[in-house]
């Protein structure tokens, strides 16, 4: 594997300091423990410990029926719940060979892209919080981002009744149709968001302090990115043009015109640039989907009467979608009953996090949090 730096533990000698970062730490974005070995301020090795948030999610998925699970699927990546749900229902639809009506597909796209914007808002805010501190400029960016994220959550609340975990998708379509007047609100919000994103860029793009903290920090080479299997903004920031929405279009993504941003530097700043373009591209996709939203049913299946109603023929299938953090995959084996025989999640954060031991050593302690923030992990998805 290229650029691999082996993590050794159990150092002797008294020049080195072992320091725990996490599981309870202001920058851990959840519960994540990094055992850092320091020489002065420089990190020489990092041992990443995960599992503090493990809650047997895949086993839970095998005990719940196809009707019940979509609203639980959102609890894997709770910051981008729409895309987790979408991955699950897509996998089931693949196994069951169910058609999804065009309107439902478009609604799914709108939900997924709005979710991407909301998730990126949280990423930008928390990342700046990591670098700037809760008592500094980072907190200012954080509060701005959270303010805009609220507006998207308001849209979701109107659509589904929930603000964080939605249960919007169901097998064969969506559970809810867009309420009357919703599309004008979405359009207005998107116009507003576009202005706000200009503001974020004005605040950060040429900000010398921001640049010195992000440029050249945490460089992931294209080779390393592919060897470790990172996806999403991380791999696109490393010069690999890979986006599931383009590589294997699902849910009518082939209908939309959007740019897949690629940066070659591979550092934190490249990942920032990629995500900032994604903000705008998501806004474009939402607008296109609203313009082209077809009339018709929102589900190919009748309304749900009982939890065991959906039965899927014997078989297996894997569906993947482009979540806010990368490729979210769901693998399902069906034995013909109302519940999957086996299910497996491919969490984007989990794979992205695997790159940490390769890029962190050699950096300063302060860079560790900057790198962590630019990876943007959600630990519900890492530990499942």
């Amino acid at each position: 594997m290229p650029d691999t730096q082996v993590v050794e533990l159990g150092y002797g000698g008294n020049e080195r300091l072992m320091m725990n970062m996490g599981p309870q730490h202001p920058s851990s974005h959840g519960v994540f423990r990094m055992i850092l070995t320091l020489e002065g301020e420089t990190v020489v090795a990092v041992d990443a410990v995960i599992g503090y948030l493990h809650r047997c999610h895949e086993k839970l998925g095998e005990t719940l029926t196809y009707v019940q699970y979509p609203s639980i699927a959102s609890k894997t990546d709770y910051v981008a719940a729409m895309t987790s749900e979408l991955a699950y229902v897509s996998a089931v639809e693949k196994v069951a060979k169910l058609e999804v009506p065009k309107r439902a597909q478009y609604l799914r796209v709108i939900a997924a892209e709005l979710q991407r914007i909301a998730s990126h808002c949280l990423w930008l805010g928390t990342w700046c919080l990591d670098m700037g501190g809760a008592l500094g400029g980072g907190a200012t960016v954080f509060l701005y981002c959270i303010r805009e994220r609220e507006m998207i959550l308001d849209l979701f609340e109107e659509l589904t009744g929930a603000r964080l975990l939605y249960g919007f998708h169901q097998i064969g379509g969506t559970r809810y149709d867009a309420p009357a007047g919703w599309d004008t609100k979405v359009r207005a919000t998107m116009d507003f968001m576009a202005k706000r994103i200009d503001e974020y860029e004005a605040m950060l793009d040429r900000n010398a302090f921001f640049l010195v903290r992000t440029q050249g920090v945490g460089v992931i080479s294209g080779e390393l990115a592919q060897a470790v299997g990172v996806s999403g903004p991380l791999i696109r920031g490393s010069g690999v043009k890979y986006d599931v929405r383009r590589a294997e279009p699902y849910s009518s993504y082939q209908d939309f015109d959007f740019v897949v941003p690629v940066e070659t530097a591979g550092d934190c700043y490249a990942r920032y640039l990629v995500r900032m373009v994604e903000f705008r591209e998501s806004i474009r996709i939402v607008r296109q989907a609203l313009d082209g939203l077809p009339e018709g049913p929102i589900s190919s299946r009748p309304g749900v009467k009982s939890v065991g109603q959906v039965r899927v023929p014997k078989g297996e299938g894997y569906a993947r979608v482009e979540g806010a953090r990368g490729e979210v995959g769901c693998y399902i084996v069906s034995d013909g009953g109302p519940k999957p025989y086996r299910m497996k999640w491919r969490g984007a954060s989990f794979s992205n996090l695997a790159v940490l031991p390769h890029i962190v050593p050699g950096h300063k302690v302060a860079d560790v949090v900057a790198i962590m923030g630019s990876v943007d992990p959600v630990f519900g998805e890492v530990d499942r």
Binding site: M19, L135, G136, F209, V369
Partner: protein, 329 residues
């Protein structure tokens, strides 16, 4: 007056100290309100409606009621002494600041030197806190503190000497007197450069974002004070803000002419306070706008940029002063 001068000084010191503590408490409220406006929030509101006027008092009361936790593995003497060692120099710097002509605790003839010497003593308390806590975050923070404060004290001192050279005196009141006609910030080229460098060095000396690597709450949790609670934490907090305010007063005195200006004499002290608060708000504005930079970058800025620049500035000032004839303005 029948009181001996010593008693007068003691009374003055008592009054200044108490006024100062109240001022420091309300400066925290000011900063919180200011930051809140920047972040489109409201800030403290409910304690002492309508604008949170009682918030600093409530905070102080809360901290007094908190349990005082001493980690079992700490170096108890060092740990317990550190907040006091930290606070005393931070309050002592106000001793030499005159708030108006003849209104101050002690207008020493080496006032500026005293201020600079005492204000850099805070590092001792800081390091004691970081060391005595026996905590790795605190230790790292203490290491950073020593690095940073030593690096930034040099440019800070050199820049502070620019007005001293211009005025030809180390006495604070004499420096203000020298600015009756023209504030030193308006002195062509030298004044502005020195003021900007002073602000940057101030940010670092006060450990504010973007130079707040000692606290660095997202890396080192709370830095050297991570283990402190209750009143000890309050003392450290008080010391930090007092130091910040003291440096703002120094800036207002060295560059903005202290109490001098086109207003009646009674308004002088108020103008001085407003100027100091203005500098404080300027620093706060920077604090709430930028992200923190890394320790190596901070040191690089100091040694490669700030220190040479301040030395050149000081030499240039000396040259100018020598040209126009040493001594008065």
């Amino acid at each position: 007056m029948t009181l001996p001068p010593v008693a007068w000084h003691a009374i003055e010191a008592f009054v200044v100290l108490n006024a100062l503590l109240i001022l420091v408490a309300y400066v925290t409220l000011l900063e919180r309100k200011f930051a809140a406006r920047m972040q489109s929030r409201i800030g403290p509101y409910y304690v002492g409606r309508p604008h949170g006027w009682l918030q600093p008092i409530a905070d102080a009361l809360k901290l007094m009621l908190k349990e005082d936790i001493v980690p079992t593995a700490s170096d108890r003497w060092v740990y317990n002494l550190a907040p006091i060692v930290f606070l005393v120099p931070c309050l002592l710097i106000f001793a030499t600041i005159p708030f108006a002509p003849e209104l101050g605790v002690a207008d020493l003839n080496i006032g500026v030197l005293f201020f600079l010497a005492v204000s850099s003593l805070e590092i001792v308390g800081l390091f004691m806190g970081g060391w005595g806590s026996n905590n790795k975050y605190a230790l790292l923070s203490a290491m950073r503190a020593v690095n940073q404060i030593i690096s930034y004290d040099l440019p800070f001192v050199f820049v502070a000497l620019v007005p001293v050279l211009l005025a030809g005196s180390l006495q604070m009141s004499a420096i203000v007197a020298a600015q009756q006609g023209l504030w030193f910030v308006a002195y062509p080229v030298l004044g502005q450069l020195a003021f900007v460098l002073f602000l940057v060095a101030t940010l670092a000396a006060e450990n504010r974002v973007p130079f707040d690597i000692l606290e660095a709450e997202s890396e080192l949790v709370a830095g050297f004070r991570v283990e402190y609670s209750g009143m000890k934490f309050a003392l450290i907090q008080l010391g930090e803000y007092a130091h910040m305010l003291g440096t703002s007063f120094l800036g207002a005195l060295l560059f903005l002419g202290g109490w001098s200006g086109p207003w009646p004499a009674w308004f002088g002290p108020i103008a001085f306070l407003l100027k100091a608060v203005g500098i404080f708000l300027l620093v706060t504005w920077v604090r709430w706008s930028f992200v923190r930079i890394r320790v190596d970058q901070i040191l690089a800025i100091s040694w490669k940029l700030l220190l040479p620049a301040s030395i050149v500035l000081l030499l240039a000032t000396g040259f100018v002063v020598a040209l126009r004839g040493a001594g008065g303005a």
